[in-house]
């Protein structure tokens, strides 16, 4: 593997190796573009993934401190861990559960579709749906998504059988084992899914797509990738012309390094990406990079989430099998008669035993709580994934007081949930309740939203430079050689798990970057 010189100003520096950064690294290097890929975490492999849920959590999770405020329940339930994403090569594609859903055309036009909504900051996406659809198709091929391109669906698990029965009794029509980037047959030189139920701990047989063992090794094979692990970016520097010129980072030994760059692409997940731009303030850019419009860190969205657990008379063993392999699509419509804007998915979900009481029902104690946990084997589960209304003041800022180990301000999250979210969650929980009752549940329990795994919108793309941070290619409005390459660039959350869209946008961005480089525009 080549090691490019620190003063090589022809390289593209990508920060973060997850769905966005890892895919982009492969796409650029296979076009002959030299890439330095900075990853803050270590490099694991299927052989090193832990089979203890608690240990795996410690191994893969971004545990650097974050502070938070606002009325969202996560602030109460998970005060020290408001978001749950990864710090490891492959980023959150190591722990993701592989649901690969497309946004719908109307979800790209929320301002138009929903009309004026007080307390929201919607704008429409600046990208034509037809064009995005082309990249969805490419991404689905790349990731071997089931139920697309003739790839069979995953088989029905016990948890899915319960889910399916209830959903069909309720009259739902589009119910199936989800669009999953998990092998339902051997392909891409990777195993089929062995239904271990350990998706979140890292797939031991690599049946689940992850940039860790797909895009990144392929990028390395081109000879054009210099992957630096344990390298945490701390600042992006710019020159007199306002273009970015270098990235400062701490290497695995904690030493400060400076890598020169022709181009910088930031893909550090929805919290760290805006934080890095804010940390890179200068005399010329006193509010941080690419922040002339004041939108860096704002409009931060997750998804409207929540768990529904059904308790049955007979065993389910929900932990056996691919975690998210089940989907109801019927509620993914905009129907104002339901009392809220936007749509949601009901997705099959299971939690392992150590995680269930921590994440699935995090505030219980006493007799009732203990009795619930004891019915774990007879439980079926689902997760609500719905539109989250963007608000200008739901945002990532720099904590005014607390510092990380490098002396830099930690990120602060502020989230006040819009009433639309509450109405949607209530509707979805009621539907989930009815679904499990229709399947014969003797008890149905609701779990609150977990720490946010889908972090979007905090450097959003916009047609008008006053409304966002970047254009439809992720290129920042203010600085032509600075790109946003992760879910931060989403204009709105929609109701689709974000990874497929992140990958589709990375494929599209790579084409754009290569063309712009050839034209010497960047």
């Amino acid at each position: 593997m080549p090691t490019f010189a620190f003063d090589d100003d022809a390289v593209t520096v990508i920060i973060g190796s997850g769905a966005g950064g890892g895919t982009l690294a492969h796409e650029l290097t296979r076009r002959g573009i030299k890439v330095v890929l900075l990853e803050a975490g270590k490099r694991e492999a299927p052989e090193t993934f832990s089979q203890s849920p608690n240990e795996a959590f410690g191994m893969l999770t971004w545990l650097d401190p974050r502070s938070q405020s606002g009325d969202w329940s996560v602030a109460r339930d998970f005060p020290t861990l408001p978001v749950w994403h990864c710090k490891t090569v492959g980023g959150s594609t190591v722990h993701w559960t592989a649901a690969s859903l497309r946004l719908h055309e109307w979800e790209l036009k929320p301002a138009t579709t929903f009309g004026r909504m007080a307390g929201s900051s919607y704008v429409d996406w600046p990208i034509p749906y037809k064009e995005l659809l082309d990249y969805y198709r490419l991404a689905e091929k790349r990731m071997y998504v089931t139920r697309r391109n003739g790839i069979p669906g995953l088989p029905a698990s016990n948890n899915f059988k319960v889910f399916y029965q209830g959903a069909k009794k309720l009259g739902y029509r589009k119910v199936h084992t989800n669009y999953m980037a998990i092998n339902s047959r051997p392909q891409d030189e990777r195993s089929i899914c062995l239904q271990q139920g350990f998706c979140v701990q890292g797939c031991k047989v690599a049946a689940k797509w992850s940039t860790l063992y797909t895009e990144i090794p392929r990028a390395e094979a081109t000879g054009k990738l210099d992957l630096r692990v344990g390298a945490q970016a701390t600042r992006i520097e710019h020159g007199k012309d306002g273009r970015v010129t270098a990235v400062l980072y701490r290497d695995a030994e904690g030493r400060e390094q400076r890598q020169k760059a022709r181009l910088v692409c930031v893909a550090g997940n929805g919290i760290e990406t805006p934080r890095l731009l804010l940390l890179s303030d200068s005399a010329r850019f006193p509010d941080g990079l690419a922040n002339a419009s004041g939108n860096v860190g704002r409009h931060y969205t997750r998804h409207t989430m929540g768990f529904v657990w059904g308790v049955f008379d007979h065993p389910v063993h929900m932990y056996r099998g691919a975690v998210l392999a089940g989907l109801v699509e019927d509620e993914t419509v905009h129907d104002a008669r339901r009392g809220f804007a936007g749509g949601y998915h009901l997705e099959l979900c299971a939690l392992d035993l150590p995680s269930f009481p921590q994440v699935g029902m995090p505030y219980g104690w006493g007799r009732d709580f203990a009795r619930t946990i004891e019915s774990y084997a007879n439980m079926a589960g689902m997760l609500i994934v719905g539109e989250d209304v963007p608000r200008a003041d739901n945002r990532i800022t720099l904590d005014p007081v607390r510092r990380d180990r490098w002396g830099l301000p930690i990120p602060h999250l502020h989230v006040d949930e819009h009433d639309n979210n509450l109405a949607m969650r209530h509707h979805a929980q009621e539907r989930g309740n009815m679904l499990y009752e229709a399947a014969g549940a003797k008890q149905v329990l609701f779990g609150p939203p977990p720490p946010a795994t889908h972090n979007m919108g905090s450097c959003r793309m916009s047609a008008d430079r006053r409304d966002g941070v970047c254009n439809s290619h992720g290129q920042t409005h203010d600085i032509p050689n600075l790109f946003i390459s992760d879910g931060s660039q989403f204009t709105s959350s929609g109701s689709a798990n974000p990874t497929l869209t992140i990958v589709a946008l990375a494929l599209r961005q790579a084409e754009y970057i290569a063309k712009q480089m050839t034209a010497r525009a960047i």
């Binding site: 089979q51 271990q196 389910v316 056996r320 392992d352 035993l353 150590p354 006493g366």
Partner: protein, 188 residues
Amino acid sequence: MEQPSPLPWLIDRRRFLQNVTGVITGVLVAGSPLALLAPSRSWAIELGSLSSDEGTTLMAMLRSLAPHDHLEDAAYAMVVKGIDRKAGQDQALRTMLKDGLSQLNADGPFAGQDEDRRVALLRRIEATPFFQSVRVDNLMMLYDTPQAAALCGYEGEVFSKGGYLYRGFNDLKWLPDPPLADAGPLDL
């Protein structure tokens, strides 16, 4: 946030280098998942931060937070050991625990009270950082023990056995199977 640890409170050789501040002992229940592994059914955990009395109080608190009648003391003792170990690395936590536990014993030994009384005492301190810290650690550690897994019917990792693909991921028979079109074939 402190990194959670898997099962280091079972065997932790560093403990031998530290002072022992307390001991809790008990006997494994016949049929305990640990009884198969342990050379003897008697167990003892050595504490490095808490006294024996504090350990006993903490164990009673854990059982009141998660009262599983069929879960043996050894499972709760593992959590005591895990919390004691964390306290050994964190002075602020150690102080908070000692203060909180002593407050629980203010009107006589907490461990000697009946369950209603213990629950009432805990309700009073539900909002305190001490209570929340112990409650969350208990969730994290108790349900990671082999005894809790056995009690709740959780089989855990199965990679070493080839996954649940042939070990029951689809063995549910009390509902009909969904049609193939909405699921997918088994790849044999």
